[in-house]
């Protein structure tokens, strides 16, 4: 697979009327390939089991532009997700260029685990980075996702230095990353970098049947979504440190 063919991407879903992936009504394009292996991942198609199909950038763009009028009304646009979309710099840049050319709002959902040059390569074309922070402790992060935090955190800092619009998001996985110590470290990280907002994305189980249908088993099993009370506790802990919290889901 040529990751950086500027003409094509391997796409496993184009989801229209997405309203949880950035402002307004959006179309979210899901690209195959991810350096992480999170046990709670809701998109195992990204792992490359043959669920994606190659699409020409022009074809993706044509699909995205079908809802152009709804983006105009709602301030929405294109969200590129995955997997880790920034693995594929050239085609993603081409896709974002096409979207910006039509005046669409652009959003990239990233794990941060790519070379800094890939962020630099799309910086001028992205209106919003939705940047996942999964765990603050590097060994624990490696345990949970397969990669360390150093490059992720460096990229986050670099994006902020460049003045990029970054929304940090934290998947809240009960028992895995919602302990008080990690939440506190999360707040500290955000304060240190002057980014005083965090979007919590509570764990859900809607994806479990998808794994089964694909003949796979989810990495983590038997987890319950966080209770409202737990969610409120986490929110309170963050807010006490001065971090504004939103909850997506």
């Amino acid at each position: 697979m040529r990751l950086n063919d500027p003409e094509t991407c391997r796409v496993f879903d184009v989801q229209r009327f997405s309203i949880h992936d950035g402002p307004g009504i959006r179309t979210t394009v899901f690209l195959e390939g991810c350096p992480l292996r999170c046990g709670w991942c809701q998109n195992p198609e990204a792992f490359g089991h043959g669920h994606a199909k190659p699409m020409l950038i022009a074809a993706i763009l044509a699909e995205v532009l079908k809802d152009e009028s709804y983006y105009a009304l709602s301030g929405g646009g294109l969200t590129v997700s995955g997997g880790e979309p920034l693995l594929h710099l050239a085609p993603v840049r081409a896709l974002l260029e096409g979207a910006k050319g039509r005046g669409l709002h652009t959003c990239v959902q990233t794990s941060g685990a790519v070379p800094q040059a890939h962020f630099a390569g799309v910086l001028d074309l992205v209106d919003l980075f939705q940047f996942d922070l999964k765990h603050m402790d590097s060994p624990r992060h490696r345990q949970l996702t397969g990669v360390a935090t150093e490059r992720i955190h460096a990229n986050a800092a670099w994006l902020l230095q460049q003045g990029a619009n970054v929304q940090f998001r934290m998947p809240l996985i009960p028992g895995l990353n919602d302990d008080a110590e990690n939440i506190d470290a999360m707040a500290q990280f955000l304060i240190t970098h002057g980014a005083l907002a965090l979007c919590l994305v509570p764990y859900h189980r809607l994806y479990v049947d998808k794994y089964r249908a694909m003949g796979l088993e989810p990495g983590v099993q038997g987890l319950e979504p966080p209770s409202d009370a737990r969610l409120a506790q986490v929110r309170q802990q963050l807010e006490q440190r001065g971090v504004a919290v939103t909850v997506e889901g």
Partner: protein, 834 residues
Amino acid sequence: MSKLHAKNAAQKARLLNAEHWLCMERARFYTQAHRETEGQHPSLRAARALQCVFANMTVRIEPDELLVGNRSSHLIAPPIAPERGDFIFIFDHLMEELKAFGYRISESDERFLYDELIPYWSGKTVRDAKIAAFRAHGLVSQLSVRPGEIRRKLRSFGARSLWRLVVNGQQKRTVLASMTRLPRLLRALRGGAGDNIKGRGRCTDTQAHIVLGHKNVLRLGFSGIAAAARARQESAQTAEERAFLESVELSCQAMRDFSDRFAAAASAQAADTVDPERRAELDAIADACNRVPWLPPQTFAEALQALWFTQNAAIISYGAGSGITPGRVDQLLYPYFAADLASGALTRPHALRLLEEFIIKLNNNVIIWPNIGGVELNHLGSDVENITLGGVDAQGEDATNALTYLFIQAIANTNLATTASFRVSNKSPKSFVREVVAIHRETNSPAFLNDETAIAAMVRDGYAVEDAREYCLVGCVEPSGNGDTYGATGGSKIYFPTALDLVFNRGKTTFFGNQDGADTGDPAAMATFDDFLTAFYTQLDAMVGWVTDATNLRDAIWAERFHNPLISSTIDGCIANAKDMTAGGARYNFGAVGGGGLGTAVDSLAAIRAMVFDERAMTMGELRDALASNFRGHEALRQRVLAGPRFGNDIPAVDGLARDVVARFCAMVSSRATICGGHFKASLISYGLNVYEGALEPATPDGRGAGRPLSNSMSPSNGAERCGPTATLNSLTRIDHTHIGYGNSLNLRLPVGILRSDKGVESVAHLIRGYFDKGGFHLQFNAVDTATMRAAQARPEDYADLIVRVSGYSAYFTRLGHAIQEDIIGRTEFATCG
């Protein structure tokens, strides 16, 4: 916690728990007068019958109510109009089913029904005359086969699925009753006693479906209307004109006498009431009834009383199931509301209480029909009295007002299956759309209508633009003039898939087997898709011809025999023309032809084009054989067509077929004239009947099995939508909605829980605006999720007020039959990314 006023909560509870009765008062007194007026002019006969009904029927004042006007001897008992014939037919054939389903009738009423009413009306009803006329004009396709063959036919339709439909959700007793009565039902069918005409078309007994001229009643009172009729007498030219004008005066007087009876009853109750608060309320009711609707109202409370009383009386006059519509209630009542608020005579909480009660009353109606085929039509609010809110005024400016918002609140608080139509223009405040979307958090009622499209359609059909801007929604979603139109927006229908059936069988329908239409040639010999399409349109045009001919024959019977001077007196034009509405008195006149199963037909045409002609994946002969055997032994072929392109997925080539079919159908309909001087208008609405509609329709080339439901209204086939709501909306707007004069309906089920967040509400509002910017006419949402509905199926008692929309009106989910419940659940649920 309910925000409903405590007194209204009590009224709502009484309504939800009331027994459903069959009351013969309206039938008895109408018939009594009708017998005494043999030989008189039909307008006079109707007026005298109305006098007799209003003078003798039970007058009820319910506990806690501030607005009065009842229709029968029980809280829930629809007024029965025997002269139409539809009620007689139901009682003659389905009484056991009605009873098994919970309808009650008193012994004396039942004796009267069978000993006097049915014998008297036998041969005299609109239905009797209609069937005779249809036969005389060769419009009936009789089931001319032997009972043994019927069984064979039912089998070929997948009798099991059909039988499941009959059996579903019923007590064993009911099933047995149905079984023993099946031969009788089939005899009735064979005798052409149904509304069926050839080509599987339908033409019901009723017309009506009309927006009452409440504007004239509020402005003039019935005293003023009577005076206008008297003044018009001076220039009356003929005995006919004089008779009609006299009948208007008699009807107005009957309204006054009827209202006086309520005033007297309220006074009498007041005298017996100890509670000073209730006594004062009863005194106020008596005062109001002494004035309105005879005189023009002076206060908001009087205006609402006049409106409700007139609405109620009109429904008594026509009988239930008549689509009598209140119209733009926020516009009609606003001047009184504003004046009373300004003077301090009215508080907003009291206005809200009155509106809540009014909304509860609008839900006090049921269609009399047993549960057959797993379809229940008799839930509260099923005999819709659609109210229209919002939109622009006659000058084209936004007319949303404080009362519009108060109505929104009343509908949310009441949480009944209220049929409310919200007109949205490009001048509507954004907050208006958002607030109506947010009602879905409380109740599933609202429908959204696009002013720009509706007004353009009205103007296209001949309305002056000022009149077009005042349009109101009748029945489910049919736009009609505000008290100036005799529209008969419902009742006549054809099904697009039948045209396919007629092509495949060279002019015969599979079920009835008669040579209804022309032989358009052997489909297997058709060289191109265009040849097939030409044959399809030939059959469709013939079907439209039959149904419009039938409708005109029926309408002529009404014009000749059964007038309605009360309703006519409120409609612009009738007094000026000195003519009953049925005879062409109204300012604007139209007829209606509905088209059903568009999605099924379009998917079928798309499959034929793709599989037979483009890809040559099968021959027409193979397809025809597969259809004839209901895909038995052709499962591979069926799977291939099921995987084919479907309407509703933003595929221009498929959507283009839908656009062409709708445009051609609308042109066929509009080219036909009604007997009153107007033309027919098309609609694409299912009234929630698409399960019935599919029962006698054979297998279709889209892979749908014989007897399965058709697609509903203008929505894509169930399960066809795979690309989300924006794709569906894009598909729908490739059709020019301004051709569809009597409206279309799109039911979209929203993602689970989307309305929990403000972002979700905002996004739905943007969907509506986006759809309307592209020319969409109507949109409504089912925001109830599958899990909720499954739970409701398992424990109906816990979900008694769970409401869903079925094709243009609201229904109580747990009171729907199993088949419809499955149909709703089967509607595609769009996932969103979490």
